[in-house]
Point group: C2
Chain length 444, copies 2
Amino acid sequence: MNPSASALLTDLYELTMAQAYLEQGMDGTAVFEFFVRKLPAHRNFFVAAGLEQVLDSLSRLHFTKEELAWLDQSGRFSSRLVHYLETLKFTGDVDAMPEGTLFFPHEPVLRIVAPLPQAQLVESRVMNLLNFQTMVASKAARAVLVARGKPLIDFGLRRAHGAEAGLFAARASYLAGFVGTATVLAGMTYGIPLYGTMAHSFVQAHADETLAFEHFAHTQPDNVVLLIDTYDTEAAASKVVSLSRTLKAKGITVKGIRLDSGDLADHARKVRCILDEGGLPQAQILASGNLDEYRLRDLIQVGAPIDSFAVGTAMTTSSDAPSLDCAYKLQEYAGQPCRKRSEGKVTWPGRKQVYRYYANDRHLDYDIVTTHDDHLPGEPLLQLVMKNGCRLAPSPGLAELRRHAAAQLGQLPEPLRSLEAVPAYDTRISTALQRLAQTVDRRV
Amino acid sequence: MNPSASALLTDLYELTMAQAYLEQGMDGTAVFEFFVRKLPAHRNFFVAAGLEQVLDSLSRLHFTKEELAWLDQSGRFSSRLVHYLETLKFTGDVDAMPEGTLFFPHEPVLRIVAPLPQAQLVESRVMNLLNFQTMVASKAARAVLVARGKPLIDFGLRRAHGAEAGLFAARASYLAGFVGTATVLAGMTYGIPLYGTMAHSFVQAHADETLAFEHFAHTQPDNVVLLIDTYDTEAAASKVVSLSRTLKAKGITVKGIRLDSGDLADHARKVRCILDEGGLPQAQILASGNLDEYRLRDLIQVGAPIDSFAVGTAMTTSSDAPSLDCAYKLQEYAGQPCRKRSEGKVTWPGRKQVYRYYANDRHLDYDIVTTHDDHLPGEPLLQLVMKNGCRLAPSPGLAELRRHAAAQLGQLPEPLRSLEAVPAYDTRISTALQRLAQTVDRRV
C-alpha cells in the first residue's frame, strides 16, 4: 500500500460532504484558496513549496477498485457516492504562486476552481502537501540566509516524520538553497546532489580508529571525509594527519573531517590548527549535530573555521514551528463570494490576486491583495498552472525553482532577513476587496 | 514511486559504509540498539510504538531492479556492493519491547542483531519509523491521561508531515488510547474507527446555515453532528434546536454539534443551555480547534460541558517536541562490546535487557538496565520477535496492542501522570553493565 498515492488519504468529512453535495445537486463551481493566517514566532516570511506534488496528486486523483470496494462495504456511503468516485478525475483549474516565491500571511498561495465535490475532496491532501514543504522551505531559507554562502546539507531523514516527510524535506530544503541531502531516494527521485560521510558505528566496528579511517579512505578515495569525534576529537585529528601521509603515497587525499558533538567552534579551531600544521590546509571541516539557524549564526559570528554544515532534525521537522496556521477555505460558490466569520478565523472573500511592488526595482516593498478582476500595475504572483485538470506546462524542474527561490531571497529587504521577528512586511488589502467583504457581510 | 517501500529511503553513508564493510570482509555479527537519550521538556515517560512497521520494513527489505540500475549508473558504488544488494534480504534477529510499553531514557527499546552491512543499512529507516510513532504515542497518551475517559479523536492529517505521517499518527494515537481518527486510509489500513462531521465550507456553500444543517442531516441521518461556529455559534445552536423538531418528525435525531473556535468552555456552556432548553439534552458537544493536552486539561478542570474532543496538529506533529533525542547505536561487533564516548553522547555497551519492578504488584516502581546475560528476577521488557529475518509470531493486531498500552498507562505512578516534569522515574544501571563499560573503556 502506497499512502502517498491513495485517494483515501483524506478526512472522512470530505467524503461525507461530497455525498451530501451530490444528493443536493450541488456540483456548481467552487473556489477554494490556500493561505497561512499568521507567521510563526520569530519568522518574517514564507517560501512557497509543494505545488509540484499538489499538481501531481490532482492529476493522478482516482479511486482504486479495492478502495471503492472498501468504501462500499463500510456501509457509510451511498451507492451514488461510490458510483461517482468510480470515474472521478480532477477537472478543475489551479492558480498558484511558483514554488520558491516569498509570501506573507493572508496572501492566497494556491487557488482551486472546480466542481464543489471535487474541490472539497482534495482539501486534506492539498493542505498536507503545501503545509509541510512550505514550512520546511521557509525554515531552511533562514539557515541559508545566515550561512552566507557556506554550503548546507540535509541530514534529517532519521527524525523526519515518516518516509514522505524525509523525501519532501530533502526537496524543500534544496529548493530553499541547501546544496544537497543525505537521503538517497531524493537523489534518485529529484536528482538532488547526495552527500555523506561515515557513522560512529563505522569507527566502533573497527578495533582501531586509524584503521577505520584507512579502510574508509580506500573504499571512498574520492570522498575521504572522516568522522573524528567518536572517542577524542583532537587525538583523532592527529591520527588523520599521520594517516594522510600514508594515503598521499597511494594518491589518496583527505578531503575533510566531520565534527558531530561538543563545542563545535572550539573543536573546529583546534582541529583546523592540527590539520594546517599537519600539512592538510585543504582538508575541509564539516559540522553537524543538532544544528539550526541560530546555532549556524552563532558559529559563523564567532568565526568558527567550519566550511560546511549538515542540518538535520531542526530543519526537517521545523522544530520551532512544526506546522503552519494554514487554511484551505471556500471563497466563492456558484458565483457567490463567501467568507467565514468564526472568531479569530475571519477570511477575505472571493477569488483574489496578489500584486507585488518593489523598491528601487530590487527589494520587496509591499504587496496588495485584491479581487481577481481588479487589475493593478504590480507584479501578479498567482499564475494559472492547471486548466480543466491538465497542467499548462511541464514542471519547471527543481533546478529552475531553486534559482527562482534564490532570486526571491535576494529581493528580501534586509530587516526581514533577521532571525528575530521585525515589523511585519506591508501587505495591503485593496479597497476593492474590503468592499467585497462588506457586500458579503451584508448578504449573510 | 512509493517512498514508504523503497530501500533507498536511507542515508548515503549507510551504503558507503556497507561497501567498505564488504571490501574489508567485515560481515561479522553486529548488535545495534535503539534508545532515547533524554525526555523532552515537561515529559515523564515514553510509549513505544512503530515496531510493527519496523518488522514489516525489515521483512520486505529489497532493492528493485530500477533502484539497482540507478545505484550502478551513479558511479558512486562498487559493482561488488550493487551485486550484494541485488539479493539482499534481512536475515537478522530483533528483540523489542511490545508496542504500547512504557519506557524511559537509556532503555533499549529495540535490538537488531545481524551481519554488520545489513544492520547498518537499515539504520535510517528504523530510526525514522520508531522516532515518529513513539513520539506521537507518547504525546497522545498525555492527552488520554488528562481526558479522564472522555473520547479523543485524531483530526490531524492536514498538518501531519506528509502522507505516512498522517497515516501513522492515526495509528499511534489510537494505540495510545484515542477512540478513532478522521483519516479514511487509517480506517481501511488498520481498521481504526472513523469519525467526522462537516467543514465550514459546507455551511458556506449553502445560501442559509439551517439549510446546510438540514441537507447534512438528510444525507447522514445516523451521524448528525453539526458544525455551528461558521457565523455565530449561539445563533446556530438555536437554529439546530428549531431544525431538530422538523427532523424528529422524519425520525432523524441530532446527535451533536461541533465547536471549533473562540472560548470553547464559554461557548460549550451557552450551547449546552440552548440545547437542553430546546429539548436536546442527549445532543453531544464535540470540541476541536488547536487543542493539546494542556487545553484539554484546562477545559476539563473548569468543567466545560464538552463530551468529546478532536485533537489535530499538536498531537500529529508532537508540536512541543517534534522529535526525540533517539539513537541507533552499535553496541557490539564480532563478539566485542563497544561504546561511543562522544561528548554528551556516551552510550552503555553490549547487548542489554531491561527488567521492570512493580510496587504493590501494581504501579511501576523502578527499572534495571543490565547486560543481556545477567538474569534478574524482574519482568524482562525486551522480547525476541524476529529470528533469522522471520517473525516469530503474526502481528498481535492493533486492538491487542491498544489494550496493552491502556494497561501500561494504568500502571503509571501518579506523579508521572502530570503534564509537568516530575523527578525522573528510577532507571538503574546494573553493576554488571557498569563493569562491562569499564572493561570496554580500558580496552579502547
